[in-house]
């Protein structure tokens, strides 16, 4: 008995050494700082030679784009792996990158999450491929989100300049004017809820994307990022504007405690219990597929202003296509990214309802005159394009925004379900983010 135990221990020791050895090999630091420029000729040659490009993206219009691309370059096969979105997408991507295995050639990455991947050297700097020359094509907000200094980590695919979607039927029924400022918004919320206690001005149970966008519009700049130096502060004047207004909505129970993208949420958007939705310009396609029965009820309006007449807007959502550092076929990958986000693919995607990040398309009359059947024939793109032009481009997300957003409801969520004030709740989000930043080796103030 005793002898077997000892042998078992010896086996264990051998095994642990093996495990140590295996992982020690895995954690190599490869340095690819100096990349040679890739000429247009190199890319053409790669396209001629052909190969397979694996794309991890959920954007639905990419299917057509990939088919067109394959038709144009018959030797290239685009392998679209989609339908995985949100947390699961990033979990899979992070795992693949840290395992150094199964990394796709192209990954869709939302603007808020891009910083984290760029920082950990997970993404290829596309400057040597000539991506920096495309700067003039894009609106400043999305371009600012994909570039850092003279490095470009992806090409903007779409953007989410904000607008206020509102249920015209509900507003007409109770004869309430569509708000143009946030003060009017609170007033409208009271009127609607008084007229029918089932009606709420909006559904908000705590959403990191909405909160950061609202802060952005209000002129708050909570995140100051300079390389690895980070400052987090939710106490500026802009933030106060937002918390004061939103606190009223929460205190008076004027926002429905419904979480976004749930069945309750779709139901509320459909049956008139949720009267407005401040969201990005990519929302219409989701209305069409998610809330079909309310077709004709909804309209788009400019996002309410903080002071009357002010046109400042903000982005909500939006994503880019990036080429991971460990991608196998970078030339081909870049060729597809450029085709989809700067070339012919843009038109293909707009025709299917995507909202572009390219200035030329945004300003084209064809685009601006598009009538949305869902919005009762409204030319909603005019509102979105106007919003896109008024997005301040000095906003930055945290280099670890993906993590910060994941703990948003742990901290800021308190303001929605207890007596905690929104301003205090933001402070605890700040504290938790600062703690994480320090643990991860950032210099945090």
């Amino acid at each position: 008995m005793r002898r077997t135990t000892r042998r078992l221990m010896r086996g264990l020791a051998v095994l642990s050494v093996l495990a140590l050895g295996a992982t020690a090999c895995g954690g190599s630091d490869d340095d690819s700082a100096d990349q040679k420029p890739v000429s247009a000729g190199d890319i053409q040659a790669a396209l001629k030679k052909g190969g397979t490009v694996t794309v991890w993206a959920w954007e639905p219009t990419l299917k057509t784009v990939a088919a067109d691309f394959e038709k144009k370059y018959p030797k290239v096969k685009i392998n679209l792996v989609g339908e995985r979105s949100g947390d699961k997408h990033y979990t899979a991507l992070s795992n693949a990158i840290s395992a150094e295995k199964g990394v796709p050639d192209i990954a869709q990455v939302e603007y808020f999450a891009l910083g984290q991947y760029a920082l950990t050297k997970g993404l290829t700097d596309l400057t040597p491929f000539g991506a920096d020359k495309l700067k003039a094509k894009y609106t400043p907000g999305p371009w600012n989100a994909v570039s850092e200094g003279d490095k470009v980590y992806g090409l903007p695919m779409d953007s989410g300049p904000m607008a206020l979607f509102y249920n015209k039927k509900v507003f007409d029924k109770y004869k309430v004017a569509v708000p143009t400022t946030w003060d009017e918004y609170v007033e409208a919320a009271r009127k609607l809820h008084k007229a029918d206690p089932k009606v709420y001005i909006a559904a908000d149970a705590g959403d990191a994307g909405l909160t950061t966008s609202m802060l952005w519009q209000a002129g708050s700049r909570p995140y100051q990022v300079d390389g690895t130096k980070v400052k987090i502060d939710f106490a500026d004047a802009g933030a106060k504007k937002y918390t004061d207004t939103w606190q009223k909505l929460i205190d008076e129970k004027l926002v429905a405690p419904i979480y976004g993208w749930t069945d309750d949420w779709y139901k509320g958007l459909g049956d008139g219990t949720i009267a407005t939705l401040p969201s990005g310009a990519w929302m219409p396609a989701n209305f069409v597929t998610g809330v079909p029965k309310a077709s004709g009820d909804w309209r788009a309006a400019p996002l309410p202003a903080w002071t009357k007449g002010d046109k400042a807007s903000a982005e909500n959502g939006g994503s880019s296509l990036t080429v991971p550092e460990l991608a196998k076929n970078k030339e081909l990958a870049y060729a597809f990214v450029e085709y989809a986000n700067a070339g012919d693919g843009v038109q293909t995607r707009i025709k299917q309802g995507a909202f572009p990040a390219t200035t030329a398309e945004l300003q084209s009359t064809e685009f601006q005159n598009t009538k949305f059947d869902y919005f009762g024939g409204q030319e909603a793109n005019k509102i979105f394009a106007d919003s896109a032009a008024n997005v301040a481009d000095d906003w930055s997300y945290l280099p670890f925004q993906q993590y910060a957003n994941s703990i948003f409801n742990d901290t800021v969520g308190k303001a929605y379900i207890s007596k905690t004030k929104l301003a205090d709740a933001l402070k605890s989000w700040q504290d938790a983010s600062v703690k994480y930043g320090k643990e991860q080796g950032f210099t945090v103030e």
Binding site: L12, S16, A205, D263, F400, Y403, N409, E439
Partner: protein, 308 residues
């Protein structure tokens, strides 16, 4: 010790003692080898790897460094960890007795032989266990909804306002309800099988002595299935400490109530996959594993002592 005796008897009489010992040990490994290999790679290697991970720290800035037991120290002082452990302990203290109590009552009722349609009930009660936890949670999640779900429909139909099962105060109880629904049948089956193997002669003896049904239960049935009770309790303790699926799937419906550190398992998951803190996550997981082992072992010792 006793197992060595027969094997020694089977082997040929030894000519040279040392060689005999060698031969015996290698033949043994031949039999146990396939199992040992699987065991080593599937059970031991992940544990060893977790321990290895837990003594390092990888940062977004600065890469990987050896930190010794720092991660463990941090975990032991982490309020989030202790809060999540407290939550599952509370869950354990309330849900497990209720679940096992119901399971035991049903098992005794089925075993009494006084029910019609015994087979039907046995299968019907066991059925929820066959439903995957994910599906079960989604299903209950729909029922819990105060707007879209069953609770909402009841509110609307009867003009009442039922408490929201997904509110901060009630969500733990709601999870308890799901887990109870899922596992009553499973535990019932363990108890029922244990009850079926009690020799009939005991019952006959009890009848001759004039014992009533209650007396039969307390004096014969319960002592006879003590082993099964202890096993079910240990499984339930481990299950409670590992609580993950239910809160994870309900979370989209109640993000503010179910935090990312709701249970220890959920906490380690969030650390690893939202925060990329694999090392710290490994340390927390190992501490949690140790705590679970100690408590399960204590229950086993305590449960078996009186029976011996």
């Amino acid at each position: 010790m006793t197992t060595l005796q027969p094997s020694a008897a089977v082997s040929r009489p030894p000519a040279r003692p040392p060689s005999k010992r060698d031969r015996r040990s290698w033949t043994g490994w031949g039999f146990i080898g396939p199992f040992a290999v699987v065991f080593a790679f599937v059970f031991l290697a992940p544990i060893v790897y977790s321990i290895y991970l837990s003594v390092f720290r990888t940062q977004l800035i600065g890469g990987t460094t050896f930190v010794g037991l720092d991660n463990y120290q941090q975990a032991l002082h982490d309020d989030q960890f202790w809060a999540s452990l407290g939550r599952v302990s509370l869950f354990l203290a309330v849900q497990v007795p209720i679940m096992l109590g119901i399971a035991l009552l049903i098992a005794l009722a089925l075993d009494s032989g006084r029910l019609y349609g015994k087979d039907f009930f046995r299968i019907a009660i066991f059925l929820p266990y066959a439903v995957p936890a994910v599906v079960a949670t989604l299903m209950w999640g729909f029922m819990y909804g105060t707007r879209f779900g069953l609770v909402g429909d009841i509110n609307e139909a009867f003009g009442v306002t039922l408490p929201d099962p997904l509110s901060t105060d009630l969500v733990l109880a709601s999870i308890g309800n799901i887990v109870t629904w899922e596992f009553v049948g499973y535990n019932m089956l363990i108890f029922y099988s244990a009850l079926r193997v009690i020799p009939n002669s005991l019952y006959e003896a009890a009848e001759i002595d004039g014992a009533g049904q209650i007396r039969v239960i307390t004096a014969i049935k319960l002592p006879a299935i003590r082993g099964a009770l202890v096993i079910a309790t240990i499984f339930s303790i481990i299950g409670s400490f590992q609580l993950f699926n239910e809160p994870n799937i309900l979370r989209p419906l109640a993000r503010n109530a179910i935090t990312t550190d709701y249970t220890p398992n959920f906490f380690t998951y969030s650390l690893s996959f939202n925060g990329q803190q694999h090392n710290y996550s490994a340390a927390v997981a190992i501490i949690m594993g140790l705590i679970t082992m100690v408590i399960a072992y204590a229950v086993q010792l305590r449960g078996m002592r009186k029976g011996a």
